[in-house]
Amino acid sequence: MSSNRLRIMVSNLPWTVSSKQLRTYFSQFGRVRVATVPFDKKTGFPQPYGFVQFQNEIDHMAVLSQENHILENRKLIVKRSIEYNNRNSVSQDGDM
């Protein structure tokens, strides 16, 4: 669960950006664990948002603390990815 804390959601992506470009851009802040841009299988277009997960907290914070992120002339909207995951919060054998 701790990994979710290191996830960001990036929106306002141009259509020319897929996971690879996203990863390349955010790699300048630190080690990227996962970068994904979902695709719409019906249209072939990438979604205008994606997720990036970092290896460590410092990089994650560095991204969030930077005010402007501009990729291909587009100002990206970068947010901490909030996920409600209560599933394991009180489970007996939760692995912390």
């Binding site: 141009p14 259509w15 020319t16 950006v17 897929s18 690879k20 470009q21 695709f39 299988k41 019906k42 249209t43 072939g44 277009f45 990438p46 969030l64 005010e67 291909e72 002339n73 909030i82 409600y84 209560n86 599933r87 919060s89 009180v90 489970s91 007996q92 054998d93 939760g94 692995d95 912390m96």
Partner: protein, 1270 residues
């Protein structure tokens, strides 16, 4: 009328109308509003609910699709598409033909039984909203739609006719006034002002001034108001009649009758002149029009017309006009399409170029966005487009995107090719829409060509390629009717045979299943892929087919031929197997599968850990556990042993879940015996202890915990001191609750064990428990409130409010009860308090009151109320409650009955639980699936046959995670306040000030409309505790005066009083930091009545230094106020001006009551002088002796924490001098003190008796009236 009648003689139909009209007045006509089927029944989503007993999980999907096709669904769909159309027409002032077609098709399906608005919307769409079509083509659409209206019997009123006429005019379609009037007359409809205007406009477009004038005269005669629009029509009419002078004269007439000559009038005139090719006249009028504000679309109309007429001398001037305007409206932007359609690329380019530089960024975005769309829509030459778009500094690739959106892959690919040629990077995924679209167009040749392009792309990597092949290329080819062989041939042609082999295999897997995929893969040389490419397909197929055998074989291929690690596949197989059997409660399949394949499955320890093994027979769990391999990193001990540590722990956990103590103990002991090194079972240990306690065997629980702690003390400390470890805290609290219910006599010892062993650090759990044990019934009212206040400050909502409410419900003191609620509301949820009230009123014999609260609150209290009844073992009251609430609404009733079932299940009376089912029947309600599943589980554990069909679990996100046992806990976590920022809820709860302020800064930056209530909301949610103080301190440190004011002035989120008071003080403090003396004066002067809220010792101190005048003024204001409000001043006197304090106390002894014992104790900390402490003790001794113990002990604690043991000893002596025993101190403090003394090798001033708490401390020599908090 005479004029019209005369006019009508020329047209036969008109005569009739004139006759009809004679007796009627248009203006008095009231149009009968047509009410079509506006009310579409709400779709009942329950339809989808799976009611079939043993239906396979997969069946839910087709069923859903079936209902998707049903009428109910199509109505929903209709709502959606027509809404989209609405948005499009209003927001963009344009509509796509495809969009229109979609809505029209839906409307026809519903036989136009749709609202009048929507009919009109459709009609309007056929006008100039549809940019992409020629006017003549649009006119055809209008006609066919109109015919459909008639065919389906849509009731057409005069509004329809007006819209129709407008559309006719927009499309330049000629119409016969007489025909329309005739039709309207047939239907008994009266033309209105708008109808006549349209008639005039129609005649004017033809240049038929005479006819237009006749209608105008008629309007005049009938006193129908004539708007500027009519004049504009006449201007056009005159120019079309080649009479420019009369046209110009209309402007004068307009001025005469007092109408404003607007840009539209000039536009009409200018357009007329251009049509007459009177360019000198145009120039002249344009000069005249300089003073009138023309809108961008009017200017662009002129530009279009001028260009059409081949006269470009004026263009430059008009461009400049546009540039000066500094804005573009949507109509003007849409005109760009027309310009491009006419092929005037340069004009469009110039317009965009000029305006982009002068408008605001938002409009810039709209203009460039639409311009690129129009370029694509009109297929402008690629080279030219590239040049123009580059010149505008826009992304040329976006033109391709627009072309794709418009379903024009050829053009899009050309643009992308151009970009690539020019060196602009084109990532391979940009061609994917082309693959999709060529596939849809059945264009095989282009499809292959595109794939070749993708293959050539320099930035393409292997994973991408496989993904593209699997997800897009292969399905597209398959949809073209290609079979495997021909696809292979094609791929060889492209040079992708190896990759394609893998892709086809995966495609086969996705479409037809494991067996076929296996067959395909059996003799192929495969291209390596990444796990992620296969995983989704694999899991989806597995869940659909439950073909574990072949899945396993497939995973073997993945391992052997593709070199993938297949632990995840194995886990998925096992998970699906367990799920499949669990749903059916039939484990034969699992046995069979394991018999055959046991040895081939391998799991990672972590994979095993995350399997949900509830209800799985032990034998199967054992077999699965044998599959676990050593991770090397995590578990160093023996891997494949029959009873690995993970497995033992899991078995023990499962035994615990079913409350089987003996079995659990067996596993537990095995675990400890065999794996002395293994420590990851602290939760299991706690659960064991809880079960012991639940069975009343407290001592054994304590021994067990101690034993665990002695084995793994360092590991435990590391876990226990991890403040983020909620599981641990939750377990400890659970143990405490169990203990206080089952073995109240040993609670103390259990808690001591938990803390001393290191299961949980801090004394917070311990403290909270102490208060829980206080017998509130024997306390004075004030004492109870003080305690409650302390609890809220210390623990927020981490304690049981139940006792406090019960206290005043029992004693029937409504005012006090209200006070408790007021105090609790900032931290507890409304639901929690209301349900507690309901429960307490029920328990203490006020069912009517309980019912009133339950019914009058508009919240869903039932689940919580039931939870509480069950928790307090008040099943009989719950039954009574269920009897009383028979008439409540279905949803609540369902929850209550479910509660009854749970209650009966808890006390193991399964028969009674089953009886509840009959009650459901009686009340004609259907029990929910989850209720039945729960009941089935209850029956199973009790060994009783389940007398009903158990519904299968449908794989929808909502009910996958439902766990009946933990529902209540999860629900309690969610705050029920109506939040403006619910998504930040988690953030608030964490209370990390930095993060909160970050979020706030972001909102400010976005200029969020609710930014102002953000902080109040945060404070409201986190309630009154030190987190709130942290936020306030942060605001002070950063001098955020505005934000502080937003908290003080807000009305939407009533922040708790004490937070508000603190905020006031912080506000003044901040102003002092900023040396805003004038502002301080103003604030204090304006708030004389509650000036004490704004004051604190530090503020007063600083005030005296900065502004002695104001200080003395404040002094006199405070002294003239009520003595209870003098606390701050008194406190200040005590610390800095003791003489005055004594004087004040002599005059106003009540003033001391204003200072709470807590603040009194903290006063001593302001200036660390013993002298001040002495003063405080003195005053307390004199005025409030009961607090003396508190003051002493807290001061000692402060000194101990600061390491000043000498001073502490000194105070202890003083304390003893006051005949108070320091050994009665709060246990936490006492522990701290003893530890501190021991660590410093100091002798304790008394004999240590720590660990011997069982001895009653009442034999101490304390004779004071101090109430020890025990």
């Amino acid at each position: 009328m005479a004029a019209l009648v005369k006019f009508c003689r020329t047209v036969p139909v008109f005569r009739q109308i004139a006759r009809v009209n004679r007796g009627l007045s248009y203006l008095a006509t009231t149009t009968k509003k047509t009410v079509l089927s506006n009310t579409i029944p709400k779709h009942n989503l329950q339809v989808i609910r799976n009611v079939v007993g043993n239906a396979a999980v997969t069946e839910s999907e087709p069923r859903y699709q079936e209902s998707y096709k049903s009428t109910e669904k199509s109505e929903l769909y209709w709502e959606k598409v027509s809404h989209d159309l609405d948005v499009l027409t209003n927001g963009y002032e344009r509509v796509l033909k495809s969009q229109y077609d979609k809505v029209l098709a839906e409307a026809e399906k519903m036989e136009f039984k749709i609202s009048k608005d929507k009919c009109l919307l459709l009609l309007r769409c056929t006008g100039d909203l549809m940019l992409e079509l020629e006017p003549s083509a649009r006119a055809e659409l209008t006609d066919s739609l109109w015919a459909k209206f008639k065919q389906y019997g849509v009731e057409l009123d005069h509004v329809f006719y007006n819209v129709l006429l407008t559309i006719y005019l927009q499309n330049g379609r000629k119409f016969s006034t007489a025909e329309i009037l005739g039709e309207m007359q047939e239907k008994g409809l009266q033309p209105n002002r708008v109808t006549y205007q349209r008639f005039i406009a129609g005649y004017c477009q033809e240049g038929n001034i005479e006819a237009a004038t006749q209608i105008l005269d008629h309007m005049k005669n009938e006193n129908i108001p004539i708007s500027a629009g009519v004049f504009h029509s006449f201007i056009t009419g005159h120019t079309r009649a080649k009479d420019p002078e009369s046209a110009k004269n209309v402007l004068n007439i307009m001025r005469e009758v007092g109408l404003e000559v607007s840009g539209a009038a000039y536009e009409a005139l200018l357009c007329g002149l251009i049509e007459l090719k009177d360019f000198d006249g145009v120039r002249e009028v344009l000069k005249e029009a300089q003073g009138v504000s023309m809108s961008p679309n009017q200017v662009i109309s002129l530009l279009i017309l001028l260009t059409k007429n081949g006269y470009t001398d004026l263009n430059e001037e008009l461009y400049e006009m546009l540039g000066r305007m500094g804005f573009m409206n949507q109509t003007a932007i849409n005109q760009l399409n027309e310009i491009l359609a006419l092929g005037y690329d340069d004009v469009a380019h110039q317009i965009v170029y000029r305006t982009l530089n002068s408008v605001n960024p938002r409009q810039q975005h709209y203009i460039s966005r639409d311009f690129l769309l129009f370029l694509a829509a009109n297929n402008r030459p690629v080279d030219k487009v590239y040049e123009m778009v580059n010149d505008l500094k826009e992304d040329v690739r976006d033109v391709a995107k627009n072309a794709f959106i418009l379903d024009n892959p050829d053009y899009a690919c050309n643009i992308l090719q151009k970009c690539a040629d020019e060196g602009i990077p084109v990532p391979p995924h940009c061609y994917l829409p082309a693959l999709v679209q060529y596939g849809n167009q059945n264009n095989k040749e282009k499809l292959i060509e595109t794939m070749k392009k993708i293959k050539k792309s320099p930035s393409l990597d292997n994973t991408d390629l496989i993904n593209i092949l699997v997800t897009f290329f292969t399905p597209a080819l398959t949809s073209l009717g290609e079979n495997t062989e021909s696809i292979e041939k094609i791929s060889a042609e492209i040079g992708l045979s190896k990759e394609m082999g893998t892709a086809i295999g995966l495609h086969i897997l996705a479409t037809s299943g494991f067996a076929d995929a296996l067959q395909y893969f059996s003799d192929k040389a495969l291209h390596p892929i990444q796990l992620s490419s296969v995983q989704d397909i694999f899991v989806n197929k597995l869940q659909a087919e439950h073909d574990w055998e072949n899945a396993l074989k497939f995973s073997k291929i993945c391992r052997d031929q593709l070199g993938l690690q297949t632990f995840n596949f194995n886990r998925s197989i096992i998970r699906d197997l367990i799920h499949f059997c669990n749903v059916r409660s039939d484990w034969a399949k699992a046995e069979e599968f394991l018999d055959n394949n046991e040895t081939q499955l391998r799991l990672l320890p972590n994979g095993f850990r995350t399997l949900a093994l509830d209800n799985v027979p032990t034998s199967i769990v054992q077999r699965i556990s044998k599959m676990v391999v050593a991770d090397g990193l995590r578990d160093k001990s023996s891997p494949n042993s029959e009873d690995g540590e993970e497995m033992l722990r899991k078995m023990c956990d499962m035994a615990l879940k079913s409350n089987d103590l003996d079995k659990a103990l067996e596993y537990y002991n095995q675990l400890e015996d065999k794996y002395p090194e293994y420590a990851f079972y602290y939760l299991t240990a706690l659960n064991m202890a809880a079960l012991y306690i639940g069975n009343g065997r407290a001592q054994e629980a304590i021994d067990l915990l101690k034993n665990y702690a002695s084995r793994h003390s360092s590991y435990l400390k590391q876990r226990g001191f991890d403040t983020t470890n909620n599981n641990l805290a939750y377990r400890c609290r659970f143990i405490k609750n169990e203990a206080s219910r089952k073995c109240p006599e040993s609670v103390d010892e259990i808690l001591k064990t938990l803390t001393s062993c290191g299961f949980i650090n801090e004394n917070r759990l311990y403290d909270a428990h102490k208060y829980d044990m206080v017998d509130l019934d024997t306390q004075s009212d004030e004492g109870v409130f003080e305690l409650l206040e302390e609890m809220i400050t210390k623990y927020s909502n981490n304690f049981d409010i139940h006792h406090f409410i019960a206290r005043f419900v029992k004693s029937e003191q409504p005012d006090q009860l209200q006070r408790v609620i007021d105090m609790a509301i900032p931290v507890f949820t409304e639901d929690a308090i209301l349900s507690n009230l309901v429960v307490n009123f029920m328990i203490h014999g006020h069912p009517k009151k309980a019912l009133k609260i339950f019914e009058s609150s508009n919240r869903q209290l039932a689940p919580q109320v039931c939870d509480l009844f069950i928790f307090y073992d008040k099943l009989n009251v719950l039954e009574q409650f269920a009897e009383l609430t028979k008439d409540s609404d279905k949803k609540q009733r369902d929850e209550i009955l479910f509660g009854l079932i749970r209650g009966h299940a808890k006390v193991k009376s399964v028969k009674k639980a089953l009886d509840v089912l009959v009650q459901y029947e009686e009340e004609n309600t259907v029990p929910k699936d989850k209720t039945l599943r729960y009941l089935a589980k209850v029956c199973e554990t009790a060994g009783i046959d389940v007398p009903f069909e158990v519904p299968a679990i449908v794989n929808t996100p909502e009910n996958v995670n439902v766990r009946n046992e933990t529902r209540a806990d999860n629900r309690r976590k969610v705050t029920q306040i109506d939040l403006k920022f619910p998504e930040l809820l988690e953030l608030f709860k964490d209370g990390d000030v930095e993060k909160i302020m970050e979020a706030k800064a972001k909102l400010d930056a976005e200029q969020h409309e609710n930014a102002a209530v953000f902080l109040p909301e945060v404070l409201k949610v986190i309630g009154k505790n030190d987190k709130a103080h942290k936020i306030l301190t942060y605001l002070r440190n950063n001098q955020k005066v505005e934000d502080l004011l937003s908290i003080l002035n807000n009305t939407s989120y009533p922040v708790s009083q004490s937070v508000k008071t603190t905020a006031k003080k912080v506000y003044i403090g901040t102003l002092q930091d900023m040396s805003e003396n004038a502002k301080i004066e103003e604030v204090l002067d304006n708030n004389k009545d509650d000036i004490h809220d704004y004051l604190s010792v530090n503020i007063l101190k600083k005030l005296k230094e900065d502004n002695p005048d104001l200080f003395s003024r404040v002094e006199s204001i405070v002294l003239s106020n009520d003595p209870s409000k003098m606390n701050s001043l008194l406190a200040y006197y005590i610390v800095y001006d003791y003489d005055k304090a004594k004087e004040l106390l002599q005059k106003q002894p009540e003033s001391v009551a204003g200072i709470k014992k807590k603040s009194m104790a903290s006063l001593a900390r302001i200036e660390k002088k013993e002298e001040i402490f002495d003063r405080i003790v003195d005053i307390t001794r004199q005025f409030n002796k009961t607090s003396l113990f508190y003051i002493y002990s807290h001061y000692i604690d402060v000194l101990v924490k600061a390491g000043e043991l000498d001073a502490a000893l000194n105070v202890i002596k003083k304390m003893e001098g006051d005949k108070l025993s320091p050994q009665d101190m709060h246990e936490g403090m006492l522990n701290r003190l003893e530890v501190a003394f021991k660590e410093n090798n100091r002798l304790l001033p008394w004999q240590s008796n720590a660990g011997d708490t069982s001895s009653d401390s009442s034999d101490s020599d304390s004779d004071s009236d101090v109430k020890k908090p025990k």
